[in-house]
Chain length 200, copies 2
DNA sequence: CTCCTTTTCAATCATTTGATTGAATAAATC
DNA sequence: GATTTATTCAATCAAATGATTGAAAAGGAG
């Protein structure tokens, strides 16, 4: 029977990335959280860095897939608000902090904020699918924007969410159970930022 | 003559906070960058953590003061756009990366993103002045928003900028010399997000 | 049961970390 | 110029870090 230790190690890394980020991530932290021996990391994965990078990569893929599938499943006559709700679903779902997608999202955003090496190495690979699916749809709803400005605002919203999730507000959003009000506030703000008059 | 070593140490910390963040900040990094002995940190400041916290605190105060003064100097009939330009001046100025205020801003935003302990301890103290000055003025321009929603959007913009400065776009903004176009794109987006219809 | 592979574990290693010491040097004070 | 104070420095410390080893334990196959 194959060991369940690798799985526990990966879960431990997820927990710790969420709570302390990659920078404050210790080999012994990982193994103690997973209830494993220090040597387990080197045995199952080649090194600590390798394990962390793997966890980041899988999180990125998982979130990207879920997002892409939801966006693709939208009806042709969906509104911009529909698109945003589906796109940002992990942040808006009220299922609370146990929700796996929300957790992965937070891990990724946190990693991006601290420019975690293990994440950055995976970034470029996973960024394309979402943008290729999402950008064309966004363009259909925002015809007043040039392509440059559309891309800028798309990135701005992404950056904005990254910043928000680090803030008290963001955490209350991810906690979900909080209140559906926060969700409406967030969407209204994003919509305003996207639909506002063009600069160019 | 009092030594100039403490000053060099603080400058070194600023440089390193900017390039590597607090998490990856090493005592020897600091002293080597400053051209000082390892013991210098303990001698002039009590500990490394103490020094870092001090640098964060001074950066926070300096930026806060500059912002507050600019906002207060606005004429009574200023537009919302004026207010935003003045408020975000460090990010928008085209003076380039040498500009001290822009540097401090980036240090702070990066520290916030990684929840740097040395910054967090200073946060609550310095946050009030800006918000006390800025929020009332914002309210005058955004009468369609409830107080709750106003505060939310104010925080959203702050979080958004924090996220943006970590991204490629943000860096090109801070580099300033880049192009004035980016400034207009940013302001248009912020304005849209603030002026957009209320959710509540 | 026996053999072989997989997995776990305590012990240990070399490095790096933040910090401290006491001597040496520089600066100032008288 | 002698004395005192402030500063710098090389050497050293204990703790923590990522990693490795070889022996033990567990599991599966014949």
């Amino acid at each position: 029977m194959s060991s369940e230790t690798p799985e526990r190690l990966k879960q431990a890394v997820e927990e710790l990335l969420l709570s302390k980020g990659e920078a404050g991530l210790t080999l012994r932290d990982i193994t103690e959280t997973a209830g494993a021996n220090v040597a387990a990391v080197a045995y199952h994965f080649k090194s600590k860095d390798n394990l962390v990078s793997l966890v980041f990569g899988e999180a990125l893929d998982e979130v990207t897939n879920l997002q892409t599938n939801r966006v693709k499943a939208l009806p042709t006559d969906h509104t911009l608000r529909d698109l945003i709700e589906v796109w940002l679903h992990p942040l808006l779902s009220s299922s609370g902090p146990d929700d796996r997608e929300a957790k992965l999202w937070l891990i990724i955003q946190r990693g991006a904020a601290e420019k975690a090496p293990g994440l950055v190495s995976n970034m470029m690979r996973a960024a394309n699918p979402v943008e290729q699916t999402l950008l064309p749809l966004l363009a259909r709803h925002l015809k007043h924007l040039s392509k440059d400005e559309l891309i800028f605002r798309h990135n701005a919203v992404l950056g904005g969410l990254a910043g928000l999730v680090s803030s008290p507000i963001g955490m209350s959003l991810a906690n979900g159970s909080e209140n559906p009000k926060a969700k409406d506030l967030l969407i209204a703000w994003i919509l305003g930022g996207l639909e506002g008059p063009a600069a160019l």
